[in-house]
Every structure is written in C-alpha cells, then in structure tokens.
C-alpha cells in the first residue's frame, strides 16, 4: 500500500482510473503484466509517456488470449492502427472493456467490431461463416455452416437488408442475458 510507485505520475493514474473500470492497484498489476511480455522493451518509467508498442505475437502469447479463437480480431480491434500491435493504453482499454464492470452497450459495440472481419460495419454472411468456423474449428460441413449463418441472419436481421448492423446486433444482445458473463476475461 502507499503511494510509493514511480511508474506513473499521480495525474496519469487518476486519468487511468477515470477512463477505465480499474482501480489503482489493478492498473499497476496490469502494467506489470504488460511489462512481463517484453521487459527489455517496456521501461519502468512512464511519466514521460514513451511511445512503446508491443507486437501482436507477444500479446497473443498471453495465457488469457493464447487459445482464444478470436485473439487476432481482439488485438486488431483494440490496437492503435488496426494491425494488432498494442501500446499500454490499448492494452488497458482492451482489458477494461473485457472486464466484468463494463456495461452491456460498450461490450456489444466492441463485440460487433470483433466479429466484423472485413471492417465494413456490417456482419455479413462471410463474417458469420468465419465466426462459426472459428468457433467449431472447421468441424461442421460447409452446408451446415451456411445453414447456420442463414438462420442467424434470419433471426437477428430486423431491417431486412440481409446483414447485421450494429443496432441489429445490440438488439439481439439484449435478448441474450448470458452475453455479459461470457464476454469477459479475468485478468
């Protein structure tokens, strides 16, 4: 306990506490987790805001993400330039959204971006097929995958344009109470 840390200024820590769902201790713990991925790249002093970015391969080697089928999309969505390489801010943001304190709308927004593989702001049939294949590790036949995707679009598409927009997705999430507990990574 105590304020003896020298990694961040007090103002930086306050800003992190205000902008993420984490407390001071959790932020410091997350910083040490970030640093453990590459101790030689990440300095112990962030008071002068160094521009350090860790490559995607290191992020994807974390035990929490290593076996997740969507780890690449998660890293891309939260990274600075959409390529999977993350700064400390991106790292904190990612785990803040995936923590249990984040509200449903915020999680739904980012979940939508994760499942939108081609970044066209719609989850179309090809996005869905990729999602289902990742979830089942290509165990289903292409006809079954196609059938599942058609049924999903039929169920969730409210404005009948053949794709899921953000509001279709959010509308569907409201009907699924498990979303908050499954879209959650403990760190």
């Amino acid at each position: 306990m105590g304020n003896k840390q020298t990694i961040f200024t007090q103002e930086q820590l306050d800003a992190y506490q205000d902008c993420t769902f984490f407390t001071r201790k959790e932020i410091l713990r997350l910083f040490y987790r970030y640093r453990d991925l590459a101790p030689q790249l990440v300095p112990l002093d962030y008071t002068d805001k160094p521009a350090v970015t860790l490559p995607y391969e290191l992020i994807a080697s974390m035990p929490e993400l290593k076996d997740n089928p969507f780890r690449q999309r998660i890293a891309e969505v939260f990274s600075e330039h959409g390529d999977g390489n993350m700064t400390l801010d991106n790292f904190l943001d990612m785990f803040s959204v995936l923590s249990e304190m984040a509200p449903r709308d915020l999680k739904a927004y980012y979940a939508f971006k994760i499942y939108d593989f081609n970044n066209d702001d719609y989850i179309c049939k090809s996005d869905l097929e990729k999602t289902v294949n990742k979830l089942t590790r290509n165990e289903l036949t292409p006809e079954e995958v196609s059938l599942v995707c058609e049924k999903v679009i039929y169920e969730a598409d409210v404005d009948n344009d053949g794709k899921l927009s953000l509001e279709d997705f959010q509308h569907m999430i409201i009907r699924a109470p498990d979303f908050l507990s499954t879209f959650h990574i403990r760190i």
Partner: protein
Amino acid sequence: MSQPPSITLHVPEGTESDGQEPSPDSERALHTSFHQLILEQSSLIEAGLELEMKERDRESPACLAPPDACAAAWPEPGQGEQCPGYSSASLQILASMPSRTIGRSLGAIISQYCNRTARLRRRSSRPPLQQLCRAARPSLRQYDLDTDPARATLEDKWSLLVKELLSLSPYQRSQMLLTLPISLAEKRTLRRQVNRQRGLLRQHAQHWAPSSPCGWSIVYVGLGCRGLWYRLLSLLRTAQPWHYTLKQISGRFGSSVLSYFLFLKTLLMFNFFSFLILLAFVVALQAVYPPPSASPPPFTGLELLTGAGYFTHSLLYYGYYSNVTLNDPCTPGSKGSACPPAAPPFPYNMPLAYLFSVGVSFLVTCILLVYCVSCSFRESVGSSLGDLAAKVFCAWDFKVIQRRSVKLQCENFCTQLKELLAEQRSRSHSQSLCQRLRHCIVVLLAWTLALGSVLGCTLAVHHLSKHMHVVQQEQRAQGSGRWQQEAILLVLPLVVSLLNALMPHLYNLLAMWEKQDSPVTQVYVAICRNLILKMVVLSLLCFQWLSRSVVCSTEECWETCVGQDLYRFVVMDFIFTLLDTLFGELVWRLILEKRLRQRPEFDIARNVLELIYGQTLTWLGILFAPLLPAVQMLKLLLLFYIKKTSLMRNCQSPSKPWQASHMSTIFITLLCFPFFLGATIFLSYTIWSVQPSETCGPFRGLETIYKSGKSWVLVLQKSNPNITWFAWVHQHLVENTFLLFFTSGALLAVIYFYIQVVRGQQRVICLLREQIAKEGEDKIFLMQKLHSVYEQRERRA
C-alpha cells in the same frame, strides 16, 4: 432538432391532359419531380463524399476498405435481391450512409454521444415517444443530413461534446466518459479538456464569489473525498478473496461451475454480516458479564458433533443469555447490597439487545438479498431459449483459457449447433397423437413418483422422530451412559441428511427417464422436485420444533434444545456433503474412468440447492443459537476448498449448455423467496406467539418474546413523559393490523401498476420493430430508385 431540407415539387405541365390532376398512378410525372431533387443532392453528396474519403484515408489507411472494395465485399449480383449489381456511384452513396459510418467514424460517435448527454441534461421521467432512438441508429430527426453544407467539422463536434459533458453532474460525467466507445488515449484527451474547462469556469466563478476559507475548504474536502473514494474502492476490490482461485476455476470449467463458487461467496457475505451484528451486540457483552451457572461437564470430542454436553451452557445457545440489565448493580438477583444512589455507568438491557440484534440481522440480510436479486435480475432479463443467433455470438465463454478446455468447448459448441439444427428440422414434423399421449403419461407417472417419494420421506421422518423420542425416554429411565444418549440424538439429523443426499440422485434418474424436450427443462424439473422435498421436510421439522409435541417436549430449556438440534443438523449436513463429494465425485470418477474413460461432471444445481438448504438451517437457528452463523461461515470456508480440490482432481468441464446468469438469478431468487421468507415467518411466529421457557434465556418468565419490547416501551413512557408520542406510534401503527392490510394492498396496487407499464412497453417495442422493418424496406426501395436514376443518366451520357 434539425429540419429536413425543404422539397419543392415541380410538376411539369403538359404531361397529362389538361384539367386532370396528376394522380399517384401516373408514376412518370412524380418521378420527374424527384429526378431534379436527386440530381441536386447527388452532386452535393459526391462533393461531401470526397471530403469524407480524404478524412478516412488520414485516419486509418490499413484497415478501412475503400468504397471501391465495397463492390468486392458485396456478394455477387444475382445471389440475392438485396444488392442487384448496383453501380459504383450508388455503392459510394451506400457507404456514406450515417448508419454505416457509425461504427467507424469518430464524428458520428461523438454526435451520437452529444445527443445522449443533451438528453441526459434535460431528462424528464421518460423521453417522449417521438424522440425515441434505438442505440446507435440515427434518424433524420436528430442528425443533420450529410448534404448539409454547413456540416460541423470533427473539431466542432468534439468541442460540442466537451461542452455537453461539462453541463452534466460529476457522476453522470464520469459514467458517460466510461461508456464512450472511443480509445483510451482519446478519452484521456477528452478528460483533460473537460478538466481544463472546468478549472477555467471555477476561476471565473471565484472572481464573483467572496474568497472565503469556507469555499476553499469545500474544494479540498471534495478532492480529499474523491481520493478516499478511490482508495475505498480499491480496498473493497482487493479484499475480494480467492481472485486467483476463481480465475483458475473459470479458466478450466467456465462460467457455469464458477457460478456455484460465486454463490458460496455470496452466502459467506450474508453470514459475515449476521455474525458481526450478533457478536458486537449480544455475544461479546455476555462473554464479558457471564451469568452465574454451574460448572460445565468436561469437554469430550463428541460435543463438536452433538452440540450438547460442554456446549449446553455456553455462549453458543439461547439458554446462556441473561434476562437482566448487565452492568447494573441494582439487579434483584445481585449480592443483596443496597442500591447505590448514583446511576449505573453503562447499563445494557440484554433481552432487548438480543431481540433487536436478531431483528436487525434479519433486516440486513433481507436488504442484501433483495439487492442481489434485483442486480442479477436486471442483468439476466431476456430469454435465449433455442435462439441460434444468441448462441453463436454469446455462447463462447471467453473466460476459458486452458487449451484442453477450449478444445472441449469447441466440441460442445459444435454438438450444440448440430442439435439445434436437427431440432429445427424435426420441429416441422409434429409428434403424432400416440407419441404425445405416451409422453404425457410418462411425465404424469414421473411426477406421481416424485411427489409420492416426498410424502414417503415426510412420513418416515415423522415416525422416526416419534420413535426416537420414545427410545430417548427409555434410555433416560434406564440411566444409560452419556455416549448412548447422545448417539440417539444424532439419528434424526443423520436420516434427514441421508434422504437429502440420496433423493436428488433419484430425481436426476427420473428426469433422464422422462426425456424432456430440452435439457434446460430437465434441469428445471429436477430442481423443482428437489426443492419440494427440502421445503416439505423443513416445514415438518419447524412444526415439530415449535409445537414441541415430540422433540424437546420434556426439556426445561426448550430453546437450547432446539438450538442444539439445529446445530446437529448443520454439522450432519456438512458431513454428508463431504461424503457426497467423496463418493459422488472421487469414487464415481474411478468407476467411470475404468468403464467409459471419462470423468463425472460437477452437478451444479444439486450442489447449489444443498448450499441453500444449509443456509436456511442457519437462518432458522439464529434465534436459538446466536453463534450459528459463525459455525456456518467455518463450514462454507472448508467447503470452498474441499469442493475446489475435488473439482480440479475429479471432474471434467460441463458438456451441456448452461445459461449461467439466468440460473444464478433463479438460485438467488430461490434463496430469497421460499427459504428466507420461510425462515422469517418461523422467526416471527416464534417471537409473536410462542411462550419462552421459564427457567433460562433472556426472555424467561414473559408471555411471549415480543412482550419484552412492549414492556420496554411502557418503561420508556413512564420514565420520560415527553415521549408518549413514541408509545402512541408503537401502539397505533406497529400493532395495528389495519395498517398492515393497507400497506399490503398498496404494495399490490403498485405491483399491478408496474406490470401494466411493462406490458405497455412491450407493445411499444413490437410497434417499433415493425417500424424498423418498414424503414428497411423503404431504404431498399430508395436505393433501387436511385440506382435506376443513375442508370438512366449513364445511358444518356
């Protein structure tokens, strides 16, 4: 609210014969008028589109698909009516529609949140229907059309957002900042700008306000409070025990098994608060001023099981507590010396303290329970039974991180999808009459068996307790040893725990034989039967304890006897849970691994119901054994580690779908409604109507326990005539039954009102869904018309 651009219709003359109004059937005339408008707007759109494209290229060249690639991202023409080969111009317009740019363009997100904060600021109880807006969908009412030449730049929108945030209260501002879906770096910039503006505003305000130490101290107190609040929050979060253990469990087994351990933690919290209240106000003080009593018999190990012997005259039970005012030298039973004229230093009325502590601990438990129920209900509203879309997007548990468990989860998911597809295919074949009849008969038979077994168990327990009582009398008459007498006491709890442990397995088998339609219904039915058994057995036992016709009928201090009985039940429950873990998980795993090469699964529903049953026993016994919450806390702590070890060694991840938040809500509601309510009724009846024993406890000699409170009010009235109003309030409001009926009636009316409001809102939701579907059709229609306009232009060019 922005006004849509004014449209002037130029109906060209001469297209129809004179004197005839152009009717809606004459399409060409109407379309020519729109043609002009579309031409005007499309030129503006293209100009705006170039600007937007430049912005987008600046933002993120790598991940954004340029509009030309949109054509590639579309499925091939002819594959659906949705996009029949639009021209690239139409596709460019499509790409710049507001609903498409919401997810990508920062400006659109900021506009949306500006409107949200503006609405928060002038919020009335419910927003009017006309301004109702679904989460991110912009409607024409709230946004400037992209064709508006005076469109705000990104910087303008940003400063507008800062201004709107400043006008909110600090709590709303912090919530809005947290929920904004922009990156952390941008949030920090926003926060910095808001704080800077706030500092400027404060400086401005301070020019006018007199610089007083009061104002400054308020500012510093505010800052100090904020720091204190953050520190308290972090303390609360770090005080969360078992963070790493829970992460291990959820990493291997997922959210479903985790919900059992979280439920255990919740029960621990309830017991902790009850224990704290009773310790502070009852137990500790009685320990400091022990009543005169005979020397207790020597301690043997058997007391831990039976709760009798050494423990009978100890702090553990009701009989130990004195009925006098502690620390008062003027008590009638004191050493007989004269009363000193000075007032006693700190008199403590023990009976009153006992009654109020028990009441307050129940009240605190009630508040905490209702809060937990409302929290989990809010999160779990909605049903996803058989909803394929919800399954695809929400069934993957991100908490599972172990490789083998992830692989298993993939396989389970695959199986579930195949089952859902097969189910949807077979739903088209309805069952024949014969099959339905057979299914009905099977269900009826299963229910008859279940209810019959419940009845059988109840009768068995009833006859056993009578028989045990007779045996006990004989033993006492014969004067047999203490060991035998105490062993007899253990038989009834043993048999009840045995029944509670074995019958659920029978119900599971019954449920498997019944073959319900969905596995979720199977779980519900098994829970229901288990619940009925436990409720009926507990009601029988409560009736026996209160009527004292069989149990504790010959004891002088019957409350201590009942407390001991409950202690024995709690301990036996713990022992049988251990045995169940040993045989149900360890031995079963050895058998299954040899035969089927697989491990047993953790039966979540059965284990949670056992926890609920144990907690109900504690609640029933608080009045008779004030230290019972401490015993329960110890039991739960041991249970956590034992269950966790057994889980890690013997069980495999669950293969059936389990809606974790839905089931958690059901369990906490079950804890609240039949069980806590039953315990409260039991407690109320004991306090209001049962005569306490004459020779022991804090309420000896009174008619009922409640009379001690009443006599205290009378004493208050006599001692200080200024507070007769308190006695009047007590007599006319608390004891008046009419008020109780009136309050219940008012409560029912409020509940009915809210039910009607919810129904009305559901109808509104249906209407809005239809409206959204219609607007989608409108969009397709307009796109097709636009496309035809462009085609005509191209053909002409």
